[in-house]
């Protein structure tokens, strides 16, 4: 199993969810996060004073998948989240040691 973590532009979330649904993903977790990459934050102007916003709002989504779905899901997220501009985010893939469905106690891929 793998855990796919994607940091994406918040406004691409709906497209990403649709793409994941098409790829057969049954569930995912998202959280609002802040960070920066190459774009190094942005500037906001209030009453003529510039404020540097170092940490830009992003969404982090976490999806656990079986090994054979990794490429398909990564591809789906990438296509749906991409705008071609700096700040589109990143996808990380990690090994997932185990998974448990709390309600039933099922373990491993059956718990996904």
């Amino acid at each position: 199993m793998k855990l796919i973590i994607a940091i994406i532009q918040p406004h691409r979330m709906d497209a990403v969810r649709e793409a994941l649904t098409e790829a057969g993903i049954a569930g995912l977790t998202i959280s609002e996060v802040r960070g920066y990459g190459r774009q190094r934050g942005h500037k906001e102007v209030y009453r003529g004073a510039e404020y540097t916003i170092s940490y830009v709002p992003k969404l982090k989504l976490e999806v656990a998948v079986e090994d054979d779905k990794v490429d398909e899901v990564t591809e789906a997220v990438m296509r749906a989240a991409r705008t071609g501009k700096i700040g589109d985010g990143k996808i990380f893939v990690l090994d997932l040691l185990s998974a448990v469905r709390i309600r039933t106690g099922e373990m491993g891929p059956q718990a996904l």
């Binding site: 906001e44 102007v45 209030y46 009453r47 003529g48 004073a49 404020y51 540097t52 916003i53």
Partner: protein, 412 residues
Amino acid sequence: MINGADTAWMLTSTVLVLFMTLPGLALFYAGLVRAKNVLSVLMHCIAVACLVSVLWYAGAYSLAFSGGNPWIGDLSQMFLAGLTRGAVHPMTAIPDSVYIMYQMTFAIITPGLMIGAYVERIKFGAVLLFSGLWLIVVYSPVAHWVWGGGWLAAMGVKDFAGGIVVHTTAGISALIVAVALGKRDGFPHQLQPPHAPWVVMVGAAMLWVGWFGFNAGSALSSGADAGMAMLVTHLAAAFASLTWMAIEWARFGKPSMVGTVTGTIAGLATITPASGFVGPFGALVIGVSSAAICYCAVQLIKTRFLVDDALDVFAVHGVGGMTGTLLTAPLMAAELGGVGYGDGVTMGSQFLVQVTGVAAALVWSAVATFALCKLTRALVGLRVRRESETQGLDLAAHGESGYNLAFGGTSQ
């Protein structure tokens, strides 16, 4: 004799002016600070409002509006001594009780405006001590000079609703307090932006509506003067909002919401002294010029002089109030739609009187505030510790947090 229509309008105006502070000004300021200080600002507003109310009853009203000499009233109406239910306020057709209460709401908002200068780093005890002393030492005397039959009134100064009494005194004093307190940690380049700009708009809109009570109520009657004051107040606010919006749009490529409503407040503050004396054309001139002048003042104070008047009280209220007081002289001319000049008064002579009024309020406010800051620092201290400033005043000073969204505690 008491007139029902006048009294009804003045009761309404009193409510509107209190609404300016609670919650209008409180929200306007609360949205502009960082999330960790939102409650402290709301707390400053409500505490100052209550404290001023009590002091107004105890003696501040008497010092402003009871006889006395050209400089200060007397103490004959301490604890509102002698106030009877049926008393009519002199030169009006409204009950004395309504006049006292109406003026109380002005006394509340004036030290309230100054909160914007010292947010995010002042000790709460210092807020109370300083505001109480300031009411007695600055507000009551200046209100007496202009509205209580004092020396500026005798000179014929024109300050319809508080360009001198409210905005000049509060603006200058705010600047002095900001200097005395010092800059917030991180000013000017490492600060976080306003935490809730939408709340700023809500507060500004409440101030706008409340300002009709402030300006049109200052007619102390419900007739033509109130009507024209309301019209010019509204027009000035609209012109100023659009002007500020246009300046930012041209300069930064985007018309900002916070900038636009800052223009609203600049226009309202600037029309305040003129609102009973000018016509719609005067409102146009004041609206456009106030936004341009206050915008420049904000940039100068923040980026040139590097004074951390955190929410621009001086640049918006002080500069606006002074500008409006001076512009009243030319714009009250009958040819420009104003009320015209009295016998033996010319545009030039009126202008000199207006300059005198502004200068006197400016000098007295600055000197007295400087001394009061020294006194407050000696008695209770002015500034919180660095750790408290970093943690935020909500938790450090009041033991509360403004936002408890995701993970609540458990009650015992």
